[in-house]
């Protein structure tokens, strides 16, 4: 047979090598053709939808851990629900009670509820007094465990375990980094409108664990986190001129950043945490300066007969955006982090202020004033793609979540009422009020804590 084949090939003037080559190439073609032509492609499109997920109470490792187990599940549920990307299922509908977090759940029980994923876990107070939290994320349809881990911490930080687990679940199911294990520093406001007491306050991103950092004797504004989340820089208006301060969250120590004549305000950390950029008043104008926290040297970045303020670095530290009225009205400009020529990027109707660069690098959020309204919006870093996320009587001071997906801002309804904090997805959807003990303004979102 093989001889006959060879003869045939030879007669046709085709060598063995060519035949082999031909076979090889035809195999390649068949291989690719099989997929291209062998199967009919059925395109499926649809609207995005929140993912139905079940978070039953975490199993208590010891009888005393029951309350924490329920608390962890509640915090995770709340985080996922507030993100707008998940639809946690009401625990009242649960068929199965999880008693052993190491065993896979009975998936049929969760399919009945249309859950796509189930988070099961356990919290255990260990012999050394520390708290261990474990979780497993199960894909209900495939019956696979798609994430799982355990964390150990002091019992009082049980909420952080819940936030970290929330982040893992969020990332696994949405493909984006989470933002739940983070904090927000803001200005807590209390008292009558004409005698407002403003205190620096710190809380978890979901509004829990509020902690006051200042007593309210002096006016505080524009707090900003350091990349390490251990320090805050802010402006305080005490007896003299407004000054920029540095506050250590752990030690409670505070210090003035530089000693400049006139006002210093609108501070923000550089992405490496080594410098603070701020505005310094010079007569009727103000310009941008950057101060190295180690050497205490100060460098001028702008020199214009205008008000340059609200600087914010790009995440890579190469550029910064800021607000300037050098063109007549406040607008947003972008320039190199070392100074030099600035390029105006906002050209819509009205004025733009408080620009802040997304940690993801893709957008700049801003406050836009015009037509008697204050709006929160975002635009790309070249000024294109402007998108208004929320507008009304008074919205101001956007700050990005660590993943750049959510913006927090404050809204003041006017009248005798006071401001509150809100979050909104950068798509403009899913606006949510952030619970605070009193009125709140000037939020700044920290990076992820871990």
């Amino acid at each position: 047979m093989s001889r006959q084949h060879e003869t045939t090939s030879a007669q046709a003037g085709i060598g063995r090598r060519e035949v082999l080559l031909g076979l090889a190439s035809s195999a390649v073609i068949l291989g690719s053709a099989q997929r291209a032509f062998g199967q009919v492609r059925v395109p499926i499109t649809g609207e995005s939808a929140p993912i139905p997920i079940a978070v039953p109470n975490f199993v208590a490792g010891t009888p005393a851990d029951g309350e924490v187990g329920a608390g962890v599940a509640q915090v995770i549920t709340n985080n996922l629900k507030r993100s707008g990307l998940f639809a946690p299922i009401d625990p009242a509908a649960f068929i199965e009670r999880i008693t052993d977090s190491d065993r896979p759940p009975q998936f049929a029980n969760w399919k009945t509820l249309n859950a796509q994923a189930v988070v099961v876990g356990r919290v255990t107070r260990q012999g050394d007094g520390r708290l261990k939290g474990e979780f497993r994320l199960w894909d209900v349809q495939t019956g696979q465990q798609i994430a799982g881990n355990q964390y150990v911490t002091s019992p009082e930080y049980w909420r952080r375990i819940a936030h970290i687990i929330s982040d893992r679940v969020y990332e696994q199911l949405t493909g984006e980094k989470g933002y739940f294990d983070s904090r927000v520093v803001f200005v807590d406001e209390s008292g009558a409108a004409d005698r407002r007491v403003k205190r620096l306050a710190l809380m978890d991103q979901d509004g829990a664990n509020v902690r006051y950092l200042t007593r309210g004797a002096d006016l505080v504004l524009t707090p900003r986190f350091s990349p390490s989340t251990q320090e805050i820089t802010y402006m305080e208006f005490g007896q003299g001129d407004p000054r920029v301060y540095l506050f250590n969250i752990e030690t409670g120590q505070r210090e003035i950043v530089g000693n400049f004549p006139g006002m210093s305000f609108s501070p923000r950390f550089s992405p490496d945490g080594q410098r603070i950029i701020m505005s310094l008043q010079q007569g009727a104008n103000s310009n941008l300066f950057v101060m190295d926290l180690r050497s205490k040297t100060t460098t001028r970045l702008t020199d214009t007969p205008a008000i340059d303020t609200s600087p914010s670095y790009a995440p890579d530290g190469s550029r910064l955006c800021f607000e300037s009225d050098r063109g007549g009205k406040p607008q947003i400009y972008v320039m190199a982090a070392t100074g030099g020529a600035a390029q105006r990027i906002s050209f819509g109707d009205g004025s733009y202020s408080t620009p802040v660069w997304s940690p993801r690098g893709d957008y700049i959020a801003f406050t836009k004033q015009g037509g008697g309204q204050f709006a929160i919006g975002i635009m790309k870093t070249d000024g294109s793609g402007e998108r208004i996320l929320s507008s009304g009587f008074h919205n101001e001071g956007p700050t990005f979540a660590p993943n750049g997906r959510v913006v927090m801002f404050f809204r003041d309804p006017g009248g005798s009422s006071g401001p509150s904090l809100f979050t909104v997805d950068i798509s403009g959807r899913n606006e949510q009020r952030v619970p605070t003990p009193g009125f709140a303004s000037d939020p700044a979102w920290s990076p992820l804590l871990s």
């Binding site: 499926i44 609207e47 993912i51 190491d102 990332e171």
Partner: protein
């Protein structure tokens, strides 16, 4: 002179005769009454197997509403098939987790909980590997069906051209004459033997617009498309799936897309969940040869 006159006369005369004869030779064609029908209707008209049976007729032809009737008809014809197959799917889905997990967990539960993070990570691996391995095995086993399907499809193609020729000249007229009773009378199981409907271009039958839309409607109910945020590039997640006649999955869907972004990974996983969750699928049995193996493609495009 006379010679030239005679020659001229001859030539002119011959010319006249030949012209006139040619003109006379052209036969006026018989007038044939023609209905304008769509290409697909025409293709089906070719299926002469349909007789004047009144119960079957017209079920097939008229686009989307018909398949439903057809399916209903079939269900009533084959009640046992439905009942037999309906139970198996649920047990099967449940069985896998139940069989695999209850047993190992107990020993694991006692031994591993106290161990460090590793146990948690180790457990997920084996189950993950299993389905993939199974899927691969199954896929390896499946290839034979494809060639068969292709082989089966190919023979009709060469045959078609011949049929076409015959078709044009004589059969069309015959068909047209009989049109009233039979042109849409293609129905029932007989269709399967005539899968090659696309005579005109020799292509395999493609009724995916019909059953594909039905599949899409069903799988969409279980699909929770992950939110892509803004400015996300449009991506696709493609699977190859094999279905049994009763609409259940013959094997785990096989991803044809290698995700290049985290969003594409999530899209792929959401699609997998949806395909499994919504099975079994109700699709017209007459097109089983087409939908027994096909490629659902989940598209991130926002509507």
């Amino acid at each position: 002179m006379a010679a030239s006159v005679a020659l001229h006369v001859l030539v002119i005369g011959w010319g006249l005769v030949s012209f006139s004869t040619r003109a006379f030779e052209s036969h006026p064609e018989e007038s044939v009454t023609v209905d304008v029908i769509s290409a697909s209707a025409f293709a089906k008209a070719g299926m002469k197997t349909g007789k004047k049976d009144n119960p079957k007729p017209l079920v097939e032809k008229v686009a989307e509403a018909k398949p439903v009737d057809d399916a209903v008809g079939k269900i009533s014809e084959k009640p046992p098939v439905v009942t037999e197959t309906a139970p198996p799917p649920t047990p099967k889905v449940e069985d896998k987790p139940v069989e695999k997990k209850p047993d190992p967990p107990k020993p694991v539960a006692e031994a591993k909980p106290k161990e460090e993070p590793k146990p948690i990570e180790k457990k997920p691996d084996p189950p993950k590997i299993d389905p993939i391995a199974e899927a691969l095995k199954k896929e390896e086993k499946k290839p034979p069906p494809k060639p068969q399907a292709q082989a089966a499809a190919k023979p009709p193609e060469p045959a078609k051209p011949k049929a076409e020729r015959v078709f044009d000249q004589s059969k069309i007229a015959m068909l047209l004459n009989k049109q009233d009773p039979t042109r849409q009378a293609v129905t029932g199981d007989a269709l399967n033997s005539n899968a090659a409907l696309g005579l005109a271009k020799g292509a395999a039958a493609d009724n995916s617009a019909t059953w594909g839309a039905m599949f899409k409607d069903q799988v969409k109910r279980c699909w929770k498309k992950p939110d892509a945020g803004i400015d996300m590039q449009r991506v696709e997640a493609e699977f190859a799936i094999k279905l049994r006649k009763d609409g259940t999955l013959e094997s785990m869907p096989v991803a044809q897309t290698s995700p290049t972004s985290s969003y594409q990974r999530v899209l792929l996983e959401s699609g997998l969940r949806a395909i499994i969750a919504c099975a079994p699928y109700r699709l017209p049995a007459v097109f089983f040869e087409e939908w027994k193996y096909f490629a659902p493609v989940f598209d991130s495009k926002e509507l």
